[in-house]
Amino acid sequence: MATTVQSVSVSIAAQGRLYFPASVSLTRSGGPFTPYTGPLAFTYRVRTTATGSATVTVQASGEFSPTGGPTVASGALTYTCASDGYATPCSGSQTVSTSAQRPVLNLGSSTCTGGGSGCSTNDPAAGTAQFQLGNQTTVPTGNYSVQLVFTISCT
C-alpha cells in the first residue's frame, strides 16, 4: 500500500454575469404625447474581491433604427434604476448615450450573490431599469428600435 499527497488549490477571481431579456417594448404612459415607458428587469451574478467593486452600466450601440425616428443623441432616452436591495441603484434620472457607458448598479467590495450571510439573498440578484422615451410630435409613425448593451465589470 502506498500513499501520495498532492497539493490542490484554486484561485477564486472576481466575476460577474448578466441575464437580460432579448427585447423590451416601450408603451405610451398616458394620454396623447405622454412619454413612452417600460421596465427592463434583469438579473445578475457577481463576486468581488475584498478590495474590489462592481458596476453595471448601459450604453446604446447606436441610434434608433430606422433613421428619422427618435434619437439617443437628443437625450430623449432616459432611465431610472432600482435593485432588489443588494446593489446600489443609479441616482436620479440618467440619460442613455451612444458614446459612453452610464451607471445602472454599483456594488462594493466582498459582494457575492446567493446564500445570504453577507451575500445577497437572491441568486441571481435582480435590478430594474425603467426607461422613458420622449414622445415627440415630429417623429413619424413607425416601429423603431435600438440595441442597448449592458456591461458588468468586476474587480
Binding site: 501520495t4 498532492q6 497539493s7 490542490v8 488549490s9 484554486v10 484561485s11 477564486i12 477571481a13 472576481a14 466575476q15 460577474g16 454575469r17 448578466l18 441575464y19 437580460f20 431579456p21 432579448a22 427585447s23 423590451v24 417594448s25 416601450l26 405610451r28 394620454g31 396623447p32 404625447f33 413612452y36 417600460g38 427592463l40 434583469f42 474581491t49 450601440s61 425616428g69 427618435p70 432616452l77 426607461f131 422615451l133 414622445n135 415627440q136 410630435t137 415630429t138 417623429v139 413619424p140 409613425t141 413607425g142 416601429n143 423603431y144 428600435s145 435600438v146 440595441q147 442597448l148 448593451v149 449592458f150 456591461t151 458588468i152 465589470s153 468586476c154 474587480t155
Partner: protein, 173 residues
C-alpha cells in the same frame, strides 16, 4: 513523472493568480422597441369667450377663438381633422345656430388646412375646422389655430345674454 506534475501545478497557479488581478467583465444586450402611433391633442386656452360688436350698429358679433393642438398622423395613408360641434343651441329668444346665424372661418400657423370660406355651424352635426393629410406632424410644443366666429346681429333678437358650448375635437388616423 511526479516531478512533471508539480511543475504543471505551479504553472497553473501562476496563471490563475495573474488572471485574478485583471478586471472581469460580461455584457448582455437588449433590443429596446417602440411603436410610434398616430395621436393628437387639442386645447382652448380660456374656459369662455364673449362675442363683441364693433363698428356700426347692427354689425355682426365676432369672436376670435385661438386653440393649440398637437398632431401626428400615420406616415402613409393617414389623415386627421379638427371638428367643431354644438350639442345645444343658444337658449332663449336670441340668435339661433339652427337658423344659420353662426358661421366661421378657420386657419392655422402650423400643419393642416383651415377653411378660408365661411362654414355654417350646426347643432348636432360636427363641422370641419382643420384637415390633416398623411404624415402631418405639428411642432413638438404644439401648433396654433384660430376660429373666427361671426354671429348674426338681427334686430329681432331680444336683448340679453346668450351662451352655448362649442366642442373642438381633434382626430388623427
Amino acid at each position: 513523472m511526479k516531478m512533471s506534475r508539480s511543475i504543471l501545478l505551479i504553472l497553473l497557479l501562476a496563471i490563475a493568480t495573474a488572471g485574478s488581478a485583471v478586471a472581469q467583465s460580461n455584457t448582455a444586450s437588449t433590443l429596446l422597441q417602440v411603436g410610434v402611433a398616430a395621436e393628437a391633442s387639442i386645447s382652448i386656452p380660456a374656459a369662455s369667450y364673449t362675442f363683441t360688436q364693433t363698428g356700426s350698429v347692427f354689425n355682426n358679433y365676432t369672436l376670435a377663438m385661438p386653440f393649440t393642438y398637437k398632431v401626428r398622423t400615420t406616415k402613409v395613408g393617414g389623415s386627421g381633422t379638427v371638428l367643431a360641434s354644438f350639442s345645444a343651441d343658444f337658449a332663449g329668444s336670441g340668435p339661433k345656430i339652427a337658423s344659420n346665424a353662426l358661421t366661421y372661418t378657420s386657419s392655422t400657423t402650423g400643419v393642416g388646412t383651415g377653411n378660408g370660406t365661411a362654414v355654417t355651424a350646426q347643432v348636432g352635426t360636427a363641422t370641419n375646422v382643420l384637415t390633416f393629410g398623411a404624415n402631418a406632424r405639428s411642432a413638438n410644443a404644439g401648433d396654433s389655430g384660430n376660429v373666427s366666429w361671426v354671429l348674426v346681429n338681427d334686430p329681432q333678437y331680444e336683448t340679453g345674454n346668450y351662451s352655448t358650448t362649442v366642442v373642438l375635437t381633434i382626430t388623427a388616423l
